[in-house]
């Protein structure tokens, strides 16, 4: 039969970002897929030659909008490893909280986009409506909705007050309730299942051989997650990855859906166990005044309203220990990064890896970023042959492609 080459992307209604696939199709079946990347390359790694190591924190945050906090976290952990900085425990917990909030909003965004990919627009809106609550938490605690800019080398810039912690927990109760309401639709609906079950199957062996990461790998039955390595406060909180075994689009959406609920629990756990104390150490050349500016606690009206909520936190749960005045600068660390480090962090999309090299100068010698989508493109190309043309958008979206991450 005659073969046709069909371009898919870089501009396509289901694609949030420019990925170009050349689909070799026979009738309605995809035979081969060839990717083309490079539409949004910005050269952020090269900027390490003209921006000093502290300014790079803000730059790596902008590699990816959706997981900005985790990029900065990974970079800061690498630098702290090189410079031998011990981050205060409170800062580690705060990083965990904001990291998990990022995972929640990213997964909710993806679940919405995924619903949109198979034409379920009202579900898309429902998920994004829930996501707004997470965005509100981030705006109230960090000062921005997406690019939160809370991480600095040696700690975090903002702190959470007892009031804010309580407000976050009240919001989490509502978020959990609203997410659970959508369970039946995204996981048990006949039409949704028809579009996702058995589509784009990635077997356990193939996933491992092609180096899939994140929900792709966990959806294919591997219990692997960078959070198990215990970065930030995960060594104290403890963590168990969510695993599904079918390896199809349905399994991957289930993994992400369950991870959203798991993140809610992790944020709760982190808030409950967060110790009091300093939020950052003073690194020479970093922000001289590292004192975080605790903020008043969101819109007063909103706080008042949710305090009367029937799902409010019961009084017998021990309040987070926040007695000590926060925002102390504990130790002063001097010097410039000299050495190299590799750090791994679990992004919403999978495992993120940073390689950092400093030569004792103000500027880093090398910042290498390997993002999860880069690792997930080979498995995507293995999933596409044999599928129907109508399923291509769903399969492409099931890897949660972040092309601007990949091209940096």
């Amino acid at each position: 039969m005659a073969r046709t080459i069909l371009p898919f992307g870089p501009q396509h209604p289901v694609l949030p970002e420019p990925l170009h696939l050349k689909l070799v199709i026979e009738d309605e079946t995809v035979i081969e897929a060839l990717p083309t990347l490079g539409y949004v390359h910005r050269g952020l790694e090269k900027l390490c030659e003209v921006r000093d190591f502290n300014q790079m924190v803000q730059i790596v945050e902008r590699v990816c909008g959706i997981c900005s906090c985790l990029h900065a976290l990974c970079y800061c952990e690498g630098l702290e490893q090189i410079m031998g900085i011990e981050v205060p425990r409170r800062a580690k917990y705060l990083r965990t909280i904001w990291g998990e909030l990022h995972r929640m909003h990213s997964h909710l965004l993806w679940l919405g986009l995924f619903a949109d990919a198979f034409g379920f627009e009202s579900l898309f809106m429902q998920f994004w409506r829930v996501r707004e609550r997470v965005m509100d938490i981030m705006e109230a605690t960090c000062g921005n909705r997406v690019v939160v800019s809370v991480n600095v080398v040696g700690g975090v810039r903002r702190d959470l007050t007892a009031e804010q912690c309580q407000w976050i927990e009240q919001q989490l109760v509502i978020i959990e309730k609203e997410v659970r309401q959508l369970t039946t639709t995204i996981l048990n609906d006949y039409t949704v299942k028809k579009r996702t079950v058995g589509k784009g199957v990635l077997s356990k062996e193939t996933a491992y051989q092609l180096g899939a990461v994140g929900p792709m790998l966990r959806g294919s039955g591997w219990a692997q997650d960078a959070r198990m390595t215990g970065y930030a406060a995960f060594d104290e909180i403890g963590f168990e990855p969510v695993v599904e075994h079918d390896g199809d689009c349905y399994a991957r959406s289930t993994v992400r859906f369950r991870e959203t609920l798991q993140s809610i629990d992790l944020v709760r756990l982190a808030i409950a166990r967060m110790p009091a104390g300093e939020t950052s150490v003073n690194v020479e050349g970093a922000l001289e005044d590292d004192t975080p500016h605790p903020i008043a606690g969101g819109r007063a009206g909103t706080m008042q309203r949710f305090k009367r909520d029937k799902h409010a936190r019961p009084a017998d749960v021990p309040a987070p220990n926040l007695d000590l005045p926060a925002g102390h600068v504990a130790v002063k660390v001097k010097g410039k990064p000299d050495g190299e480090a590799v750090t791994r962090v679990e992004q919403p999309r999978g495992e993120l890896m940073y390689y950092l090299k400093g030569t004792g100068a103000k500027y880093m010698d090398r910042v290498r970023i390997r993002t999860p989508t880069f690792a997930n493109i080979p498995p995507l190309l293995a999933m596409l042959p044999g599928c129907e043309l109508a399923d291509v958008p769903v399969i492409v979206l099931s890897i949660d492609p972040c092309i601007s991450c990949t091209e940096r």
């Binding site: 921006r51 502290n54 300014q55 790079m56 924190v57 803000q58 730059i59 945050e61 902008r62 409506r129 509100d136 705006e139 109230a140 000062g143 921005n144 690019v147 800019s149 810039r157 903002r158 039946t184 922000l287 001289e288 005044d289 590292d290 500016h293 903020i295 008043a296 606690g297 969101g298 819109r299």
Partner: protein, 120 residues
């Protein structure tokens, strides 16, 4: 079917989940990094913000006593506010209004004069 009916009834009884946008505007939370402002009377033109800015949008001339911020290049990270020694930089919680032209936030102040020690 029963689920659906339940949802329909609850949606009818609840108020709308969206805002009537132009009439009801969602405000920002306290501490939101909206617009960078400089209280130039307190500014000592020390150039710390210029050196720390990751997007290099601030230009300070300490001899002429000028402070300029390219509003379109600013990424609103708030680093300058944190490092400012006199706390003359601050951020308001409102966004900058929509602009059709490139804007520069320019301030002219009086540079700090070096005080000569009076010899006894």
């Amino acid at each position: 079917m029963f689920n659906m009916t339940k949802n329909v009834v609850s949606n009818l009884l609840h108020k709308s989940s969206t805002r009537l946008y132009p009439f009801a505007v969602r405000g920002h939370f306290e501490g939101f990094r909206g617009t960078l402002i400089n209280n130039v009377d307190e500014c000592i033109f020390c150039r710390t913000c210029m050196l720390k800015c990751p997007s290099q949008c601030i230009t300070v001339d300490n001899k002429a006593g000028t402070w300029a911020c390219e509003a379109m290049s600013c990424v609103y990270c708030g680093v300058c506010v944190d490092v400012c020694p006199t706390s003359c930089l601050s951020m308001t919680k409102e966004h900058r209004p929509v602009a059709t032209e490139r804007q520069t936030d320019f301030h002219q102040g009086s540079p700090k004069k070096k005080t000569k020690k009076v010899e006894e």
